[in-house]
């Protein structure tokens, strides 16, 4: 439980950090809740840690003039749960169950997104919300749609020299309901299946927009397009939800491990997708 030797550098400004991000052998550390366990087991042995943890400008949640929420990359799960973001039903569901108290107090939103653990909860939430991920590099700023950002296990669309600075969530709306439900792996607490659901009824009784995203199931968190498509235009009867949820793993190679083989995981993806949609619609009233 002792890591290999490594160099350590703390960035005191964002520019200083951007000057080092992407240099060979360098790994960015924020809360360290994912990286340090890997280093202690010597599964990761970076030559240098670049600590961005004290860049105050990357911390905190603010509302943008258009109503959207801008979440600084260094905002911890606990801080996010104390912010207006908690009023998003699915975030209110997901945040209290992430990790443990220490992880929630140290782990950061940007770190979770950049790490892209295939079973991490937050990426599914961002996918379902159609969030944006803002990255900076010496070359400037780039805004990524969450959809398409999570490209594989522990891999994202982020360029080598980019640092995530902010996550932008769409503004709150009265015609949307959302929920997050998950089946936890008992030992680690990671999701065997986690489903984030956002349903929008723009003009009355029929669903006009849906964002359904799953984590823990495939190589990376993903949008369940077929489920979303099947929901559009229907009024959310139990039968229609069940029929839509049946597509939860369409086109996905479902993971299997000692805790949940692929058959069980696939079945739970369907069940939990249905439960997430029902819960989201329930919040819409």
């Amino acid at each position: 439980m002792i890591p290999n030797l490594f160099d350590y550098q703390r960035a005191s400004t964002l520019d200083e950090a951007l000057g080092l991000v992407g240099t060979p052998g360098t790994k960015v550390i924020a809360g360290g809740m994912s990286l340090l366990p890997l280093m202690k087991l010597r599964l990761a042995s970076p030559e240098r840690l670049l600590d961005i943890g004290r860049l105050a400008e990357l911390r905190g949640v603010r509302q943008l003039p258009d109503g959207r929420l801008a979440v600084g990359a260094l905002t911890t799960y606990s801080d996010l749960a104390d912010s207006p973001a908690r009023h998003y039903g699915l975030l209110g569901d997901a945040l209290p169950d992430i990790g443990d108290v220490q992880v929630r107090n140290r782990g950061t939103v940007g770190g979770s997104v950049a790490h892209c653990d295939p079973a991490s909860d937050l990426p599914a939430v961002l996918l379902a919300l159609d969030a944006e991920i803002v990255a900076r590099s010496k070359r400037g700023e780039k805004v990524y749609a969450a959809d398409g950002f999570f490209t594989g296990a522990f891999s994202t669309a982020l360029a080598e020299d980019e640092l995530i600075t902010e996550i932008r969530l769409p503004g709150p709306r009265d015609d949307a309901g959302s929920a997050y439900v998950s089946l936890a792996q008992r030992a680690s607490g990671y999701s065997i299946v986690g489903v984030a659901a956002v349903v929008i009824k723009e003009n009355g009784s029929a669903i006009t927009k849906a964002g359904i995203a799953l984590t823990g199931v495939g190589e990376a968190p993903y949008r369940a397009r077929a489920v979303e498509a099947a929901l559009l235009g229907n009024e959310g009867t139990l039968e229609s939800i069940e029929a839509a949820a049946a597509h939860a793993t369409d086109g996905v190679t479902v993971n299997g491990d000692i805790h949940a083989d692929s058959e069980y995981r696939a079945a739970m993806a369907v069940t939990y997708t249905r439960r997430a949609i029902v819960a989201a619609l329930g919040r819409l009233g």
Binding site: I2, N4, I258
Partner: protein, 804 residues
């Protein structure tokens, strides 16, 4: 006039240990930092089975801070001892292979030690491990005990054909087979009691120190048995006699059995200290991940059960064939657990005329298996309690009524169990001392609302949940054991099992008690203090309990098997008797009265009929310590030692009931209620008893629902960290509903029985029966533990396929 001291025996006084434990002032092995101390790290096999062609340490020796690199061939010691062969004096063959301090030619499990580095810092030692080059010849592995015995299986040891350590039997084979042949009903089932990884909060560690100036060794060890280790590490392994080795167990942060045994690292740190010279101590502390391969595992039985009886519910015979997985090499008492402590208690609290067990101990390419909380008795309870439910289901009888019909009647004690520990060898027997099983069961049934089970089931079903209720009417064996019985049957440590206590009442009247037992967090300092305060009439704050150092405490056999309250406490009472007797003789001298005229109440020694003529224990101790006026033949000082050999074991029992709900759609199982009625005899400290029960129940529930050591076919431990091995958490458990009956044990003066293991002996079976009860409406007859969501879901799906 002496102030009357409140009697604290039997009350829930707060634990004396807790202020230091909960404020970080405990002193565990890793807290100890000695001058000049070096650090040791162990290179562990990445293969489950491999030959070692060569080990190249040249690069590692040149690494920064490295003082020595050690390989197996450097170490002149014996392989580690195995001191509890199956069958003991009966002469059956045990094909023994135990670990060496470091492996020399081959490794038999992932985690077996191959080489070690001693360095100035732990970081340097671990870095240098990576520079050791081992030329491995990987071999195929076998991890399943039943498969390992079959023709064509991978062979681990030349002296163990078919990987069999022993074939051992107990009971009447012909009679049991006849009972099965004659029976109206026979139920057969294959039961798996899966492997567990014990997780004491403090991992193991030790510091070895060789003093070249005295040619003496000292070891600080996180051990339950420092006195025994002086024999096992010193004499058996290193060839060093008792007067050259001192063993010290400082505070020990939990053990659950794992710290009973003789581990390779003990001899290794002592060897390393001598090797690097200069009187430098050497510390080794395992990491949690390392612990999963280097510290013993528990359970791991595959059992073929047959239970036979009449349609009226009379059970007439139980026959089992059990494969006990003992790992790649044998741990200290590995073979004793699935034999004496399992098969000999198999019939539980039932009067079953014919019981026969065959147990095959098996080598596999897995971590060695030895005693883990309950040790054999949870495995036995699981088999017999599942058997009773299976039998009840088969004949359509109420499960509680079936148990009631087969209980050993309360007027049958002392009960001579024909296939049990009482099996006579050379005339020595152990009897089940006492019991009254029905009241405990009735109390539990009432609390659980057993009569309304079907209504509860229907209500849950309306919510999409399958409700089940499970009984476990258990019996357990504590307070091991009469030495003469061990000597006669050869079952046990191959040594004695008495206990010891020394009491000194000092000049100031303060009392220092030294004990031969060794706590691991149970609160022995508190309970012993309560007993001595009661016996001598002195306030608790005037007493201190010392233990766990072979220099300065009397020889004892340590704390395990729920033996301390019964055997250790009685030694303390015997020592207190001697103190009181000497104080009485001296009071007679001081008061110029005859010994017979002195009456004792608390700390007051008075002349009968003359209440003003009296001396306190403190006054007596003061005068005896000064020794200015001693009667002829009396030694100065109030200092007495007692050794106590118990005449019998003790036999707690009770009924536990678990109520579970299963989400039919996902297989997720939730423990909704847990009711436990235990009879542990009289209680020294009811709060500590409750604490032991709570922890034990949680541990047993953990096995039933979540915990499981999983090996791949190649022998890699897939559940190799707490990220994959699910320990129970408080938030997953309901508040336990505890109650009691009290049948004082006739074996010891306190009437206590022991409680360290009862909770987990009972609870695993209760939850297993509850889950199977919940699944029974679907036509599921038996499902093995642990009841993970995916396992339960697959079982439910299979019934849908069958019904479709």
């Amino acid at each position: 006039m002496a102030t009357a001291v409140q009697d604290v025996l039997g009350t829930s006084v707060k634990r004396l240990e807790d202020p230091r434990f909960i404020t970080g002032q405990g002193r565990y092995v890793d807290d100890i930092k000695l001058t000049g101390m070096a650090h040791l790290a162990i290179l562990r096999s990445p293969y489950a089975h491999a030959n070692i062609r060569s080990v190249d340490t040249s690069k590692a020796k040149g690494m920064p801070g490295v003082l020595a690199v050690i390989v197996g061939a450097d170490i002149p010691y014996n392989p580690l001892p195995m001191v509890w062969p199956a069958g003991g004096a009966s002469g059956i063959t045990n094909n023994v292979s135990t670990p060496r301090v470091l492996a020399t030619d081959s490794v038999k499990w992932t985690g077996e030690g191959v080489a070690a580095v001693v360095a100035e810092t732990p970081e340097q030692a671990i870095d240098a491990l990576e520079a050791i080059e081992v030329d491995w010849e990987p071999l195929p592995a076998v991890v399943d005990a039943e498969k390992a015995t079959q023709p064509g299986a991978v062979q681990l040891h030349d002296n163990a054909p078919n990987n069999v350590v022993f074939d051992w039997t107990v009971g009447d084979k012909a009679g049991t087979e006849q009972a099965i042949t004659d029976a109206e009903v026979v139920v057969r089932e294959r039961l798996v009691n899966h492997r567990l990884i014990p997780n004491p909060m403090e991992v193991r560690g030790d510091i070895g120190w060789y003093n070249p100036g005295t040619d003496e060794y000292t070891i600080w060890m996180s051990s339950q048995t420092p006195h025994i280790q002086r024999l096992l590490v010193g004499i058996f392994t290193m060839g060093i006699p008792e007067h050259k080795l001192r063993c010290i167990s400082p505070d020990v942060g939990g053990a659950f059995g794992t710290k009973i045994f003789c581990y390779a690292d003990y001899a290794l740190v002592l060897f390393a200290s001598k090797l690097i010279g200069g009187g430098r101590p050497v510390k080794w502390v395992e990491s949690r991940r390392e612990s999963y391969g280097s510290t013993i595992h528990g359970r791991d039985h595959i059992t073929y059960l047959e239970i036979a009886g009449k349609r009226d519910g009379t059970v007439t015979g139980v026959k089992v064939k059990t494969f006990a997985n003992l790992g790649g090499r044998l741990s200290t008492i590995g073979p004793g657990i699935p034999t004496t402590l399992y098969a000999r208690v198999l019939s539980g609290c039932y009067k079953i005329p014919n019981v026969y067990a065959e147990v095959t101990g098996v080598y596999t390419n897995t971590t060695f298996v030895d005693a883990y909380r309950g040790a054999g008795r949870p495995e036995a309870t699981y088999v017999i309690e599942r058997a009773m439910d299976l039998f009840a289901n088969e004949i359509g009888m109420d499960k509680a009524e079936l148990r009631r019909k087969n209980f050993i009647p309360k007027d049958a004690f002392p009960y001579d169990n024909p296939s049990g520990l009482g099996t006579a060898v050379n005339g020595e027997k152990i009897y089940v001392d006492s019991g009254d099983y029905e009241p405990a069961m009735d109390m539990a049934l009432k609390t659980a609302g057993y009569a309304d089970l079907e209504a509860k089931r229907a209500e849950a079903k309306s919510r999409g949940k399958l409700l089940g209720m499970g009984l476990s009417t258990y019996i357990e064996v504590c307070g091991v054991a009469p030495s003469k019985w061990i000597g006669a049957v050869g079952e046990g440590w191959g040594a004695a099992m008495w206990e010891s206590s020394n009491i000194k009442v000092h000049l100031t009247g303060k009392v220092i008690v030294t004990m031969g037992t060794s706590p691991q967090g149970q609160g022995h300092e508190t309970t012993y203090t309560q007993i001595i305060a009661h016996e001598l009439g002195v306030p608790m704050e005037d007493i201190v309990i010392q233990h766990s150092d072979t220099q300065g405490t009397p020889m004892g056999y340590g704390s395990y098997g729920s033996r301390t309250s019964s055997v250790g406490s009685t030694a303390a009472i015997k020592a207190a008797d001697k103190i009181r007797d000497k104080a009485k003789r001296y009071a007679a001298h001081m008061l110029e009265a005859s010994y017979d005229d002195i009456e004792v109440e608390g700390a007051e020694y008075r002349v009968k009929g003359s209440p003003d003529k009296k001396k306190t224990l403190q006054e007596i101790a003061f005068a005896l310590d000064l020794g200015f006026s001693l009667p002829a033949g009396m030694e100065p000082y109030l200092d007495e030692t007692a050794y106590y050999d118990t005449p019998n074991c003790t036999w707690p029992f009770g009924t536990h009931i678990a109520i579970v709900e299963i989400d039919e759609e996902t297989g997720e199982t939730e423990l909704k209620r847990y009711i436990a009625v235990d009879d542990v005899g009289k209680k020294i400290n009811p709060m500590i008893v409750d604490g032991q029960l709570h922890g034990g129940i949680a541990q047993g529930v953990g096995q039933a629902l979540w915990e499981q050591a999983v090996y791949g076919d190649d022998g890699q431990l897939l559940s190799g960290s707490m990220m994959d091995y699910a320990l129970p958490r408080a938030s997953w458990l309901p508040s336990f509903e505890l109650d009691e009956t009290v049948t004082p044990s006739p074996v010891n003066p306190l009437g206590v029985k022991g409680v360290g293991e009862a909770g987990c002996i009972a609870s695993t079976a209760a939850v297993a029966n509850a889950v199977n009860d919940a699944l029974s409406p679907l036509g599921i007859k038996h499902l093995d533990m642990p009841f993970t969501a995916q396992k339960v879901w697959h079982a439910i799906q299979a019934t849908k396929g069958a019904r479709a």
